[in-house]
Symmetry: C2
Subunit: 356 residues, 2 copies
């Protein structure tokens, strides 16, 4: 700290005078660098979002966020609970969105084919593969479907939703293996440039991992990727893990259920492996990619770091960040105006990037 003090005094003196621009830049020095001490705060629900979203923001922290299961059976039971609780909502959303859902398998992998009432003009030969979220462990079966139904209905796309194997049935890299099985099938059903990948949270990471894996396997790249608030860094690295902790009422903190679930999935495999933390992967050659996050999202940094990485590789990548939203709010319910907005952006991105 002794070495640091004069530098800090220098910076402080400059800031007193010049609030915005043209600050002197101190030479890099060795850490430790001072943390920011932020006092306790009571943060109101913003008025700058829809009434529907205000209610979601006002909800308390997810109960049980810091008491994840500790046994494989406990995780399995929680996953089954997510399925049971989701089912009536999924069915209601399916009816409202007028999509058809058909269960099946593709080369042994469980999938749902989701078809909208009407395929949009131009999308007749296009196909989306959707990979659900849930920290690699939750949201099995029908609970996997909301995002697939939203993009099918709002975008007018045929979608294959992958109900990949999850722990304790199978561990890393089973989820990715299953996703790749469907990837390979999809690029035979349609030309690769006509295929898009879409996923949120763990699914947002998996669609990026699929891009990395496709390169490793010398497979053709798909035409576009939609990665929503991706778990792109499971090593708990990234500023918003700290800055949005206790503010994001879905994931809440890195000390919560989601990081525990990712570790359960990895089963001792290094979390920094790009096939678990894709922000560390080589994304050169990636197709156009749209990224979605929110200002309160615990994974905002995970999202913008991927965006910057893609942009620095010269890749067509579009970032959308929603006011006041915690992790994956936008995929929650079709009756939230911001959900319609987010999925219209994603649909437009696919419309303008996928081959016809």
């Amino acid at each position: 700290m002794v070495k640091l003090k004069p530098v800090m005094a220098f910076v402080a003196a400059a800031w007193l005078a010049t609030p915005a621009l043209a600050q002197p830049l101190p030479s890099p020095v060795t850490p430790p660098l001072a943390p920011r001490d932020v006092p306790a705060r009571s943060i109101p629900v913003p008025t700058t979002v829809s009434p529907q979203l205000q209610l979601i923001i006002a909800a308390p922290l997810r109960p049980g966020w810091n008491t994840p299961p500790t046994t494989p059976e406990g995780w399995k039971q929680l996953a089954e609970t997510t399925r049971a609780t989701a089912l009536p909502n999924v069915n209601a959303m399916r009816d409202r969105l007028k999509v058809t859902v058909e269960a099946g398998t593709i080369d042994g992998v469980r999938v749902y084919t989701v078809t909208p009432e009407k395929i949009a003009a131009g999308n007749e030969n296009r196909l989306l593969v959707q990979i659900h979220g849930g920290c690699y462990v939750l949201n099995p079966a029908e609970a996997a479907l909301p995002e697939a139904m939203l993009i099918a209905a709002i975008g007018g796309y045929k979608v294959i939703a992958v109900d990949y194997r999850m722990p304790p049935e199978a561990y890393f890299p089973a989820a990715l293996d299953d996703a790749m099985t469907v990837y390979k099938a999809a690029i035979k059903m349609q030309a690769p440039g006509r295929v898009g990948l879409i996923g949120t949270s763990a699914g947002g990471a998996l669609v990026l991992e699929m891009g990395l894996r496709a390169k490793l396997e010398n497979l053709p790249m798909v035409g576009a990727i939609a990665s929503g608030t991706p778990m792109s860094d499971s090593t708990k690295t990234g500023d918003s893990f700290q800055t949005n902790a206790m503010l994001d009422n879905v994931l809440v903190s890195t000390e919560g259920f989601c990081d525990a679930a990712a570790a359960f999935y990895a089963k001792g495999h290094p979390l920094a492996d790009p096939l678990i933390s894709p922000v560390y992967g080589d994304m050169s050659g990636f197709p156009p990619t749209i990224l979605t996050s929110g200002t309160r999202d615990l994974l905002l940094s995970n999202t913008v770091r991927v965006h910057r990485k893609l942009r620095n590789l010269g890749i067509d990548s579009f970032l959308q960040v929603y006011e006041g939203q915690s992790h994956a709010y936008y995929g929650r319910d079709d009756r939230i105006p911001e959900t319609q907005e987010a999925f219209k952006e994603i649909a437009l991105f696919f419309n303008t990037r996928l081959a016809k």
Copy 2:
């Protein structure tokens, strides 16, 4: 609150089970909605940014952030101090960036013409107008120049930097009037489609206000706008005003110098006027617009709200958000890698949107 409780219990029960998607959506109810209580935290400097940026993040809150001047003379003196402190840094940056700076006037408005060592191919007939930041009151004269020099050098553009009148010399709408004088001159020097506007903070708001004012005056629209972390809402509305308070070490809080400065500039004029808070304006017909912010930026919400507004109007608008950055870090010093990155994006946006 009695009415709210069952709804909240409903939401809470659903969240226990389904962490990510397919939550039941409660019907909108009347506020009050519960705030989020966030405990005090000590937030480390992120390791996910350059060493140069880590030092900036580690700097303490801007000294004097909550003791703004209370008299016109006090503001004038602070503005002069920002100028004096900035001058050596501006001169050093000018030398490093090899730009030429020439002071002059355009129809009575003080300007600097900033010329790079080499105009980039394709930019020979393009022209940028830069509007500096400083909460409408600070950064007069040479202190206005860093952003103009950065985009001139990194983008290879000729830039006119506007040293607009500020309080106590003149109050709202003098800054905008001066900017519009240069706007009108610029679209005579080059075809409007070849002209771009660029500004940060108050300057980021002013370039949006110029778009609104151009519509009011039936002037041709310019070809593109770069608005950095705009003061798009001076009514203190927007979630990140709360969520990033005390975390952003530049603006720190809405109870700080910048909102006091904006009120000083407005001199009693309603702060919700779109010509002071452009997020409330009608942006239909706006040209392509790039927006820049950071995850710790007090104006992150101000930025993403403008982005969403433009996108919902179908306008080509690109958002870039930088990891760990507080307000306007990216315009600070050319030796910060993230500054190069941000201005390369802005330059590329102008390159691909302005007419040749």
